[in-house]
């Protein structure tokens, strides 16, 4: 009787351990899969952010170009009117310039990112942030692959993995640059000013 109870207890402990290991490995596998897709998410984000940044800058530059032309022309008008003694005309031209400048302020309000000298810094921050997120998502993916591989190859776990190979045994590749030429190319890259 007592022997049976001991056997049953041992079996229950073994079963519990197997279930725990199995579930742990499944969690690690899903983490790897999620982190792999996180790279896609960050690539998608980069595409969208950079597209909209480019659009904002383009709009702003178009506007600035045409405004600048207009202001220069009005300035010319005012100058010639003044020389000719036509004060009313000169005043009108100056007023128009003021109008354009206040319009410019409105545009600045619409794009707070473009205000003052901060544009370049803001743009730089946005780019750095986006590229960092992409790099960190790759790092997180590799970290989760490492955790899974280390678990799967360790003792006891490896026994369970070989028992359920279709469910537990996957070979996730680490994210890498791919090929020695590519690595060499990136390594030799320097900024030329």
């Amino acid at each position: 009787m007592a022997v049976w109870i001991i056997i049953i207890i041992i079996l229950a402990v073994i079963l519990g351990a197997v279930v725990a290991i199995y579930n742990g490995l499944i969690a690690l596998i899903e983490a790897v899969r999620n982190n792999e897709k996180q790279i896609d998410i960050q690539l998608d984000r980069r595409f969208k952010v950079f597209e909209s940044l480019i659009n904002v800058v383009k709009n702003y530059m178009d506007y600035e170009k045409s405004t600048l032309k207009e202001v220069v022309a009005l300035r010319q008008q005012a100058q010639t009117a003044k020389v000719q003694g036509d004060t009313a005309h000169a005043m009108a031209a100056e007023d128009k310039i003021s109008g354009i400048l206040s319009g410019l302020n409105v545009v600045f309000e619409q794009y707070p990112d473009l205000k003052a000298n901060q544009n370049a810094l803001q743009l730089q921050e946005e780019i750095v942030n986006t590229e960092n997120k992409l790099a960190y998502s790759k790092q997180a993916y590799n970290d989760s692959v490492e955790r899974y591989n280390a678990k799967k190859k360790s003792l006891l776990q490896s026994v369970i993995v070989s028992t359920f190979p279709s469910k537990l045994d996957f070979n996730f590749p680490y994210w890498n640059l791919g090929g020695p030429e590519k690595i060499k190319e990136r390594e030799d890259y320097t900024v030329k000013m």
Binding site: Q38, L121, Q122, E125, V128, N129, Y136
Partner: protein, 348 residues
């Protein structure tokens, strides 16, 4: 940085090893806490049964309790009390940490300027690197001193806070390192751990007090005395004065262990140990320079003690003695020399 190679022997950080060894230390500390607690419960049982069966020697009662021939009711009750108190604490412990400070929350939409935007971005980057499922809330505390802390362990309660002084004086990489340290506190569940330890410590002290007064006023009620009873009283008397010290030292050891782990975790996330070292040196240097002003500011902030263990830098312990590599036995944070050495910057 030039002065790094002059003053420090620079190595890379083995963060895997650091995390592993400190995790082991944590397990030992928590194990000791639980052991003390259970032993205390058994002591009560021993005391009660010694009163009940005055003729039986203490060793026999002890044996009966351990082999469960006598059911240790007191141990069961104290265990139940501990479980309930822990559950209640976990459920209601959010929102304590910002007590007494002037703060405002930063989100992706409401960031006012470049540095606030940068702060939010760095936290988000570290969240991606950690594979955290939720974004912690980000707060700026309106204070001149340089400090930061984290709290919470779930989507609802996780937060990081940073003082304006820190935001203004650190560059992007350094802020990122500090945020990685804070985020590591969150993902290592340090707040939950500290809460658990402090609840167990407080209960331990309460129980030993109850036991002490119980034996003090309950003895010789019926005029009978026993030989073993005196031994029991002496043990309880010693424990009453020893346990508070032991629990405090254990808590501080735990806190320092978790700081080392958060530093290692920060290096794990950023894969770079230099910005963290730079940030720590800057915070220490800034504190040394403005010591008087900052200590009044800290003192004027109410409820500063709830944040002490959670800060990246403990202002109360940051003395010259700490800088000279003295003992940190009585502080929540390891001293800066040891922290830098642990992430690979050994003082020459």
């Amino acid at each position: 940085m030039a002065n790094f190679s002059k003053n420090f022997k620079v190595q890379s950080t083995d963060w895997r090893q650091a995390l592993k060894s400190n995790q082991r230390r944590t397990l030992i500390v928590i194990g000791v806490f639980i052991l003390i607690y259970v032993l205390l419960g058994l002591l009560i049982d021993l005391f009660i049964n010694a009163e009940k069966y005055p003729q039986v020697p203490l060793s026999v009662i002890t044996q009966a309790l351990i082999t469960l021939h006598l059911i240790p009711y007191a141990t069961l009750i104290t265990t139940l009390v501990a479980i309930i108190s822990l559950w209640v604490t976990y459920a209601f412990a959010d929102k304590l940490m910002l007590l007494g400070t002037e703060y405002h929350e930063i989100t992706a939409e409401n960031s006012q300027n470049l540095s606030e935007k940068q702060l939010y971005n760095t936290v988000e980057e570290m969240k991606v690197a950690a594979g955290l499922r939720y974004m912690p809330k980000v707060f700026i505390i309106d204070a001149d001193y340089m400090n930061a802390f984290a709290s919470g362990y779930s989507e609802k309660s996780a937060m990081v806070a940073i003082t304006r002084g820190l935001l203004e004086k650190l560059d992007r990489a350094e802020i990122q390192a500090v945020m990685a340290h804070e985020l590591s506190h969150i993902r290592h569940m340090d707040i939950k751990l500290t809460l658990t330890a402090s609840v167990l410590a407080n209960l331990t002290l309460m129980i030993i007090d109850i036991l002490f007064y119980g034996i003090l006023f309950g003895q010789n009620r019926d005029g009978r005395s026993r030989e073993g009873g005196n031994w029991l009283f002496i043990i309880i008397l010693i424990l009453r004065y020893l346990l508070p010290l032991i629990t405090v030292l254990l808590m501080l050891f735990l806190s320092r262990t978790r700081e080392y782990m958060a530093d290692a975790g920060a290096v794990e996330l950023t894969r770079d140990n230099e910005p963290l070292a730079r940030a720590l040196l800057k915070i220490q240097g800034d504190y040394d320079q403005n010591r008087l002003q900052y200590s009044t500011e800290y003192k004027q902030t109410p409820h500063e003690e709830v944040r002490r263990a959670a800060y990246i830098f403990d202002p109360t312990a940051a003395g010259l003695s700490a800088k000279q590599g003295g003992s940190d036995f009585f502080s929540t944070h390891p001293n800066i020399v040891k922290r830098l050495a642990a992430i690979g910057f050994k003082l020459k």
